[in-house]
């Protein structure tokens, strides 16, 4: 993608025009997130940039929306619920998902395609249908409106992500390593924990992060399966957005963006590390 020295004027124009277009599209992708962050420091209760903010004066900015988030019991309860639900759901989907992914990557698995289709389906089925189905079914089991019900529902939604990332890691896994371990007298459990696990660990962790963010951001299913006692951050945001969009939502949004950036960075680092470990990419 470099402009050769012999390019014609037309080619030059197109070359730069294309870059401008791409720049605009990337701006479209990132702008909404970038707008939310400064506005969350607005000293006023508006959703627009005040003249003071544009002039970069200190009095145009304030942390009051963050203070509101930290002092409002509704938001605090929502945060606590989110923090209590997401990790447990993640652990559940990672444990079951990793085992299954290892099983699926064995050379001879009967009905592999069908099993895979079922395991991935929570990602494909429209959330409203999953939510409605769980609502009726969990009600009947007495799980609707309970912590356990929400955790189970979120765990199953995270499973496809774990399966996909872990099987992807296992594709490049060198089978001779486990054979070598067995050859040297390691039992299957030792082999798993000492040889296989360290190598697929990056995939497991990034699958776990995906599962975590799925639960942490999920709103449709929790609206149906949960009740007030399980009101999570996204639920509280949803209510706020539907009722009356308050600047506190932007403060929460900014915090979530920061969390996303942290998770994204972790996943990227892990992916590179995993590729390096498996010798799939140089350096």
């Amino acid at each position: 993608m470099e402009l050769p020295p012999y390019a014609t004027t037309g080619q030059r124009i197109w070359f730069y025009a294309f870059r401008v277009i791409c720049g605009l599209i990337l701006f479209f992708l990132i702008a909404p997130i970038m707008v939310v962050i400064p506005l969350s420091f607005n000293a006023e209760n508006f959703f627009t940039f005040t003249p003071e903010m544009l002039a970069l004066k200190a009095e145009g900015y304030s942390l009051k929306h963050y203070r509101d988030f930290l002092s409002n019991p509704d938001w605090q309860q929502a945060l606590r619920n989110s923090v209590q639900i997401a990790p447990v759901a993640t652990i559940l989907s990672v444990t079951l998902g990793t085992l299954a992914a290892i099983g699926l990557s064995q050379p001879h698995v009967p009905f592999r395609r069908a099993i895979m289709a079922i395991l991935i389906s929570p990602m494909i089925v429209p959330l409203i249908i999953s939510a409605a189905g769980m609502y009726f079914f969990y009600s009947r089991l007495g799980l609707q409106g309970t912590y356990l019900g929400v955790v189970l529902a979120h765990a199953v939604l995270g499973i496809p992500f774990v399966i996909i990332t872990v099987t992807a890691t296992l594709v490049g896994f060198d089978k001779s390593l486990t054979r070598a371990a067995a050859n040297m007298g390691a039992d299957p459990v030792t082999t798993f924990f000492r040889v296989q696990m360290p190598l697929i660990l990056p995939g497991v962790i990034s699958g776990g992060l995906f599962a975590f963010i799925t639960s942490f951001d999920e709103v449709v299913v929790v609206l149906f399966v949960g009740s007030a006692g399980q009101k999570t951050l996204p639920w509280q945001m949803f209510t706020g957005l539907r009722e009356q969009i308050s600047p506190t939502i932007l403060a929460v949004a900014t915090i979530l963006v920061v969390i996303s950036i942290a998770l994204l960075t972790t996943v990227e680092v892990l992916r590179r590390r995993s590729e390096k470990l498996r010798g799939m990419s140089p350096g």
Partner: protein
């Protein structure tokens, strides 16, 4: 095994003895109340549950903001045989529906509810507002309209029909995204007499007439689905006038001091109150009964109007309506039931809507989509 039974039995007897000694049946030490959230729920917390909690140490009160989905959720809970709610705040039409389906407990008003201070039994004090055997009324509210005083020129609207007069009052108006109320207003403004509205609306032609009237302003309407939409739209000046619950307009006008005025004409009264879910276990039921008796007595209902401008459902509470808790203004003139505001009111027909709701809702949605 035997020992265990004996222990359990004697424990139960001891427990019962304590309870009897105390003069009360055993009560659960937590309850889940369901309401609408926002300012309304806050007024209930202030007037009912906080004072009650102060009287009963160690009681845990959980609020669930699911009133809008109460019918569906109660049905699902009932189907599962696992009702987790103890007391549910619903509008009268939902109460009727829940009562019909056997999802709400039938009550004897005089037995369950406190008499007025002068000894008038509850059934008389609430009077006609006991619209269903399961319904414990709390407030009278109204769906009514407000307008921007600075956007209507020199002749502020005095009739609900101003909504249909886009020449005199150009600009957007906001109406609720459902047929209820809008259909009635459309017919009223199309020359149908107040008493004939539901008879006309029952016929295909009458429905067509109402839709035709709404058609004349369809392009000028912003449809709302949350009670906070209209106040927000009015505050932003995006609409000239809009309908919502009167309490929301009160807070916009009085608390937020916006250039908005009430248009009480043809306000539609509705009721909101409690229902007790059917089939509660004994201890929880005792607790709820105790709470309800307290929370719907004359003083408590009057107290609620300190926080929000809805009229108390008891006749005996009306004289006790005082001043706003923080603003110190008289609340009476802001009540939908105040004689000055209630010169022209419209009575909402619960029975009729119970039948026609599904049908007209589908028609309304189809009309909106066209």
């Amino acid at each position: 095994m035997k020992l265990k039974t004996i222990l359990l039995t004697s424990g139960a007897i001891a427990g019962a003895a304590v309870a009897f000694a105390d003069g009360h049946a055993p009560m659960a030490d937590s309850m889940t109340l369901v309401s609408w959230g926002g300012a309304y729920q806050a007024s209930q917390t202030n007037a009912y549950s906080d004072p009650y909690k102060a009287m009963h140490e160690g009681l845990e009160v959980v609020w669930d903001e699911s009133s809008a989905e109460a019918v569906a959720k109660l049905r699902a809970m009932n189907e599962a045989g696992n009702v987790t709610w103890d007391l549910v705040d619903v509008v009268a039409s939902d109460a009727i529906r829940l009562c019909d389906e056997g999802l709400a407990m039938e009550i004897d008003a005089d037995e369950l509810l406190a008499a007025a201070p002068d000894g008038t039994p509850a059934s008389e004090d609430f009077g006609d507002l006991l619209v269903s055997d399961c319904f414990i009324p709390q407030i009278v509210y109204s769906t009514t309209a407000g307008y921007r005083t600075d956007l209507v020129g020199d002749t502020p609207p005095t009739s609900i029909c101003a909504f249909f007069d886009t020449e005199a009052y150009p600009g957007k108006r906001s109406l609720e995204k459902r047929p209820i109320n809008n259909m009635e207003w459309a017919l009223l403004c199309d020359g149908v007499a107040k008493d004939d509205v539901y008879d006309v609306l029952e016929t295909e032609e009458g429905q067509a007439q109402a839709f035709a009237k709404l058609d004349t302003i369809k392009d000028d309407v912003i449809w709302w689905s949350a009670g906070a939409d209209t106040p927000q739209l009015l505050a932003d000046g995006e609409v000239v006038m809009g309908t919502t619950y009167n309490g929301r307009l009160f807070s916009l006008i009085v608390e937020q001091d916006q250039p908005v005025d009430m248009l009480w004409d043809a306000q539609v009264f509705d009721l909101d109150g409690w229902i007790i879910p059917a089939g509660l276990p004994e201890e929880r039921l005792n607790r709820v009964k105790d709470f309800v008796k307290f929370a719907t007595d004359t003083q408590r209902l009057a107290d609620q109007s300190k926080y929000i401008s809805y009229g108390p459902a008891r006749a005996s509470s009306a004289p006790l309506v005082a001043q706003h808790a923080t603003l110190g203004i008289d609340m009476a003139p802001h009540m939908p039931t105040d004689p000055a505001n209630a010169t022209n009111t419209f009575l909402y027909n619960y029975e009729w809507w119970a039948d026609y709701r599904d049908d007209l809702d589908a028609k309304f949605q189809a009309w909106l989509a066209q």
